[in-house]
Symmetry: none
Subunit: 526 residues, 2 copies
């Protein structure tokens, strides 16, 4: 066993999902979105939450104004900004003043640490850049702030001009920065390159942090390498959001440090919230969470190969690197047409059903195989599998009965509309509802919910988070069989249902109505 | 600058997308899919393509039968299998024979190298496990095969019982395995743990390879660490597909070695195909390629921060870790930028239009960019591109005018019907037609054809051969933007049209009506 690094007396997990994470292409966070995410991060208990750049961005100014009322219990808010302009004074700089006015105890400012960037991008002298750092940090300190300095392009800067890069760290440290954060801004580093550079910077006596991007697919590894070399502050984002290839994914860095090094980064009971929080943030950020995302993805403890099923019965730890419960995830057996009776039994037991009866298990396996040969895929549709299981075990009580539905789409004078009608009975009351939408499935979704809300008001909070269509037998034109998968979320849980048919609307309807039925049966207290 | 590792005289890039990659939840590859992907991998020039497990899986047996006719130019096929059963003889083992029969020169067999797995999962003795390795390798060698051995759970095995793990490597090497591949099967390793273990295994004198999974989000970094410690063979998958969290992503490992270490893993002109091949594989695998996937993702060289814009003008290399052209990517990776003026001119000329006028070409490029930013993709829809070109050049004469269309789908008493109405004018005659079908698009297709046949009887022979739907912004539920692509064939010609909308029916209608209009304009003699 290798020697494990010791946890420093003080260690910061600094989340920048709301600032650097929001730089991701296609990711848009409103102020309420940001407030919600800050709440989740506080529940999890990261040390710092960087909220944005007040003054530079009106929405961020607003965020800091409203965040004061969040009542954060575990985390501290940080306002992000930059060193003052060349040739100016920090005390007279409007942006610096906006940072002070944000009202946080902590401020993180970015400073250039690469000679070429100072000369060519900032277009000032090396000396003036140092003076900008000293002046800004000193001023903020004089206003009672605690200051972190992000040394931008530090790793590239060190490799090109080591002396100047180190001088920047020294200057920030001497001016009173509590942590100097070494940034791999362009994301081009490899883990084996990180250690020596971190150790060189440590000779300044500064407390060091690290902030890296994922351009070599090594952001998590680079962060871990920096920790091994002695940094006491790590910056990253949840689910790895960020500009270009993203930032270091804290949902992987945190459990790596806690479970591989044995550190206490978070209290164990909060680490067990990791999966829930990662999914909740993904939901607010409107980004589907990749099934294979380490630690927190839906597939990250899933087993498919029949090869493994019998061995897993012996000892599941033979086939998983950690106990998934530690991060709030689950071991899942995938149900696929490759899967035999053993898989079905394990899966059934996980869902709380007794399938020890071999004959029963064999019969259900046959049903699953027959349905999968029609195009159903239960591997990725646990909720539909549970509905099938309940049906086979005669314990399925459907919360509503659909009498009929119809949907039409029409174009007239270049305008499209889709309109759906659903007729159903729920809790002995008949409902007849019309819904409109962007397309037929959206219209059906709206009508079905509206028809269910009188009997099950919480259905209004079911969120349809993903809808996927796959044509199974390409080459058959519009007459092909299609499979639709729908993800639905409610109260931190997400479930997937599947529908199949040659008619895409019929297949979507099946997945949709099963999604709502499953949610009502399993997620709502009676 | 750190010392860079030297490239070994022989170095293998071993792709297992078709075998281990296919273990990913939700990823289903048909035999034609696998043949297509093998073709792409060969174009790129990976050393080895592991195609599956012949004998264990009928589809894989079929793949190897058909793959013989692929005429691969750069890559060699490898059949995957396991050591023979305990207590049996390799020469009498049906699965071993199936490996031989697959007809590849190279075979890769998996062997257990973790004491606990031998005892508890395989349920045999440590000695018999070694004998299984020797017997299987020796037999395959006697059949003229070149053999690789995957040492399963090697890193965990070494940490728990180093002597036995090393003995497995030694045994495989002594029996004639050309490479022994150290596997992090459960994916729990960190880069700093890899080096010492690889160096310990190297003392056996075996050529070593590495095969890791991404459970700590370090698969790429762990592969690079193993390379730094001296392995001459790396296994991975394209886009990181694989069981649980996936395998090491070759689309990141290859450029890391080539561009960070200066190795020649692929000829530079083939490395420039990396982005194209990664996307082509994603398309066949039906997996959306994450925008922030390192090196090849659409966002991975995209800049959002206004902060950078002016600096990028000074020198774009200040803000990117490599020149994206080296991997066939682009600094502004919006789809629209794939279509520069030169491309449009070349494409236009191929279609027989004169686009030498720079201003005209620039204007058309702008239109294409605007449409692609809405979600259109002309790369795969030549017919729609030609329609757009004709429109811009004022030479588009539409063969019919649609007044309106509508389609409805309904379910009553468990039966589905879809019915469409189309009203249009063709050759001065108004047509009003109703069609039924398996789903709304099929019904629209039927009605539109029926309405066109009086004016253009040959439309009856237009065959709609493929219909594909892609959700562009997953995570938006049923409200997402979708792109549909339709292939139509007539008289030996096939053409593709595209439609986009938040309404799948509207998008399908657009592709459908363009498909028939294009066919009438270009394929029918007047």
């Amino acid at each position: 066993m290798p020697t494990l690094p010791q946890q420093p007396a003080e260690f910061h997990v600094f989340d920048t999902s709301l600032r650097d994470g929001a730089q991701q292409e296609g990711l848009h966070l409103s102020v309420p979105d940001k407030l919600k995410i800050a709440g989740y991060l506080d529940e999890l208990g990261v040390t710092f939450i960087e909220g944005g750049w007040p003054g530079a961005n009106p929405a961020d100014t607003e965020f800091f104004r409203l965040a004061k009322d969040l009542g954060l219990k575990n985390s501290k808010l940080v306002a992000f900004g930059a060193t003052r302009k060349a040739g100016a004074k920090a005390s007279e700089d409007a942006l610096t003043q906006a940072l002070v006015d944000a009202g946080t105890d902590y401020i993180c400012i970015v400073a250039k640490s690469h000679e070429d960037h100072v000369r060519r991008a900032l277009r000032t002298t090396l000396e003036e850049n140092l003076e900008m750092i000293t002046d800004t940090v000193t001023f903020l300190r004089s206003q009672g702030k605690r200051v972190f300095v992000d040394a931008e392009h530090f790793f590239d800067g060190y490799r090109a001009h080591p002396e100047y890069a180190i001088k920047v760290v020294q200057t920030a440290h001497d001016a009173g920065a509590e942590v100097v954060v070494l940034c791999d801004t362009n994301g081009g580093m490899l883990p084996s390159w990180i250690g020596d550079i971190v150790r060189a910077a440590a000779e300044t006596g500064a407390n060091l942090g690290v902030h890296v991007h994922n351009d070599t697919s090594c952001a998590v590894a680079n962060t871990v390498a920096a920790v091994e070399a002695g940094v006491m502050h790590i910056q990253g984002t949840f689910n790895g959001y960020g500009e270009r290839t993203g930032n270091a994914d804290l949902s992987a860095v945190i459990p790596n440090l806690q479970l591989k090094f044995g550190w206490q980064v978070l209290p164990p009971e909060q680490l067990a919230e990791l999966t829930r929080v990662a999914h909740a943030i993904a939901l607010v950020a409107h980004q589907p969470l990749l099934g294979r995302q380490p630690y927190v993805g839906q597939s990250s403890f899933a087993h498919k190969a029949g090869l493994h099923a019998s061995a897993i019965k012996v000892d599941e730890n033979l086939y998983q690197h950690i106990d998934p419960a530690l991060v709030g995830n689950d071991m899942r057996m995938l149900i696929s047409d490759m899967a035999g009776r053993a898989n079905i039994q394990i899966k059934g037991e996980q869902l709380g059903f007794d399938l020890n009866d071999r004959e029963l298990a064999a019969r259900i396996t046959e049903v699953v195989k027959a349905r999968e040969s029609e195009g159903y895929s239960y591997e990725s549709a646990d909720a539909s599998f549970e509905m099938l299981l309940r049906d086979q075990l005669d314990v399925l009580e459907l919360p509503f009965t659909v009498d009929s539905w119809r949907v039409f789409t029409e174009e007239r004078d270049g305008t499209n509309i889709s309109e759906a009608t659903v007729k159903l009975t729920a809790k002995d009351a008949r409902q007849m509802v019309v819904g409109e939408g962007n397309g037929p499935v959206n219209a059906l979704d709206g009508a079905l919910r509206a028809a269910l809300i009188p009997a099950y008001p919480q259905v209004a909070d079911f969120e349809l988070t993903d809808y996927r269509v796959r044509i199974l037998d390409e080459g058959y034109g519009t007459d092909a069989t299609v499979r639709t998968l729908i993800d639905t979320s409610f109260d931190g849980h997400t479930w997937t249902t599947v529908g199949v048919g040659t008619n895409v609307i019929e297949a979507s309807w099946e997945a949709l109505s099963d999604a709502l039925a499953y949610g009502i049966i399993t997620k709502l207290a009676d």
